[in-house]
């Protein structure tokens, strides 16, 4: 299996590290040899059609001086020369244009590559179109890492809930807002104070709107609804309400009756919504800290609840790697 990794952020670096560490195990257990032939950064790429030395790339102090570095190499331009089976698209999410991820995915499919992605943008905006394109060229797009990081959802439904109809999906899909609400509850502090603390600790971005206004959760909900509920929908179809207006007094009122306030993403009866909701203290949504939780309602298996890490480099890389292996096994 020859792969190209596009993007060089936390998830990409973790993936390269895990690939280097697990290559022997992957070969022994699954009989799959994964060769990384390209790693694309913003300003160029490491290219070796015989397979790159991943340890060297991760530890490189001055990457431009590496012999495999090709200045200004762009995936869309040189994809045809890579003789690659699978493009791993890990560039940052953009919910306005979905670029550069969208072009990368289209290019990869155009050259007959399968695609694995952790980038929510292209699927949140163009899920139906991209799946149709993949179908036309008889290739696959796998995207386990786009929603709830390490928690297997799409694989779970595809491989172990076959013939089940998914009736609804409800969950906490953003760890940052869950952290903020958990701290507001335990410390009785206002939103702004906890946000500053989260930014200081690196749990929230300098521009927090992506998380606290529910943009990230809405993008994930769109992907879940398309893929699991078979509902053709787009980012703009989500009713979205953030958590900026929640006050410690409201949390206290909720607590008095045994409720917590959680930022939930819900796809049910054709309606997609991301909003704060009251959940009972003992309920499956009452997870604290930065954890994610997803509850699937199905016709045969009934209710399933999954809790796990929704972010983190290695956790997300776990999902990406599993998708790569699934494609490698299918290609044999």
């Amino acid at each position: 299996m020859r792969i190209a990794v596009i993007g060089f952020g936390t998830v990409a670096k973790s993936l390269l590290k895990v690939l280097a560490e697990k290559s022997k195990l992957i070969l022994d257990e699954y009989g799959v040899e994964i060769k990384t032939v390209g790693v694309f950064k913003k300003d160029g790429a490491f290219i070796n059609t015989n397979g790159l030395d991943l340890e060297k790339i991760i530890n490189s102090q001055n990457y431009r001086s590496e012999e495999e570095w090709v200045e200004a190499a762009n995936f869309n331009k040189i994809a045809g020369e890579l003789n690659c089976d699978c493009a791993v698209e890990l560039t940052p999410t953009n919910v306005e244009t979905s670029e550069p991820g969208l072009s990368h995915i289209k290019t990869a499919l155009g050259y007959g590559m399968d695609v694995v992605t952790a980038n929510k943008g292209p699927l949140a905006l163009y899920y139906p179109e991209l799946m149709e394109l993949a179908r036309q060229v008889k290739r696959r797009i796998l995207f386990e890492a786009t929603v709830a990081g390490a928690i297997p959802l799409f694989n779970l439904v595809r491989n172990t809930l076959r013939a089940n109809r998914i009736i609804s999906v409800k969950g906490i899909l953003n760890g940052t807002t869950n952290y903020i609400l958990s701290r507001m509850t335990s410390e009785k502090l206002p939103f702004k104070t906890v946000l500053k603390e989260a930014q200081r600790l690196g749990f929230a971005e300098a521009d927090p709107s992506y998380d606290v206004d529910g943009i990230d959760a809405a993008a994930k909900l769109v992907i879940l609804s398309n893929a699991l509920l078979r509902k053709e929908c787009r980012f703009k179809d989500v009713n979205r309400q953030g958590i900026r207006d929640i006050t410690p007094e409201a949390i206290e009122l909720a607590r008095k009756d045994g409720f917590l306030i959680k930022h939930l993403a819900i796809s049910e009866d054709g309606v997609l919504e991301v909003a704060p909701r009251l959940v009972e203290v003992g309920s499956s949504f009452a997870v604290s800290g930065s954890l994610n939780v997803v509850k699937l309602q199905t016709d045969l298996a009934k209710d399933l609840t999954l809790i796990g890490r929704g972010a983190g480099g290695v956790e997300t890389a776990s999902s990406v790697l599993n998708d790569i292996l699934e494609l490698a096994i299918l290609r044999r």
Binding site: K170, Q241, D245, I246, T247, E249, A250, E252, L253, A254, K256, D257, F259, I261, K262, L264, I266, A275, P276, R277, L278, V279, E280, S283, S284, F285, K295
Partner: protein, 161 residues
Amino acid sequence: MIVVELSDRPGQLARIITPLAECGCNILNIHHVRELDREDTARVEISFEADDRVNVDTVVESLRREGIVIISYSPNIQTFRETVILIGHVFTTDITDTIIQIANSGIQVASVDARITLIEEVSSVKMVLQSNSEEKLSKGIELLKQICKKKNLYLIRSVRE
């Protein structure tokens, strides 16, 4: 709810408790309706709850087998409720009007609780909305959504598990 007629002597109430328990009913309330008593009989109303598998006809049948006179019976009336919290200028936007509008739509505002900060600051109000029909309750919630939009209040609903 089941209304029965018992002879007005000691130990009669005990006769109805065992069959109910055997049917899996949990007794919520027993009410002796004295104004309906005749010379030697007592009218008793029994409210109970049970899960969906218990049929009220089966319960009535088992009481009849005990020789108890059934005057009337009806399935338990279920109550649907949802707790909501409103955040914003709930008082300057007339909370009484908000409550009256909801009540006029045919659902009950079962309780109201508030956290008041300074009048010019945002406050929070918690309400429990209640109805005997799920549909009515959803309509009431829809109305509340519209009111909140108009009054620029932030609405937090409960989630159904």
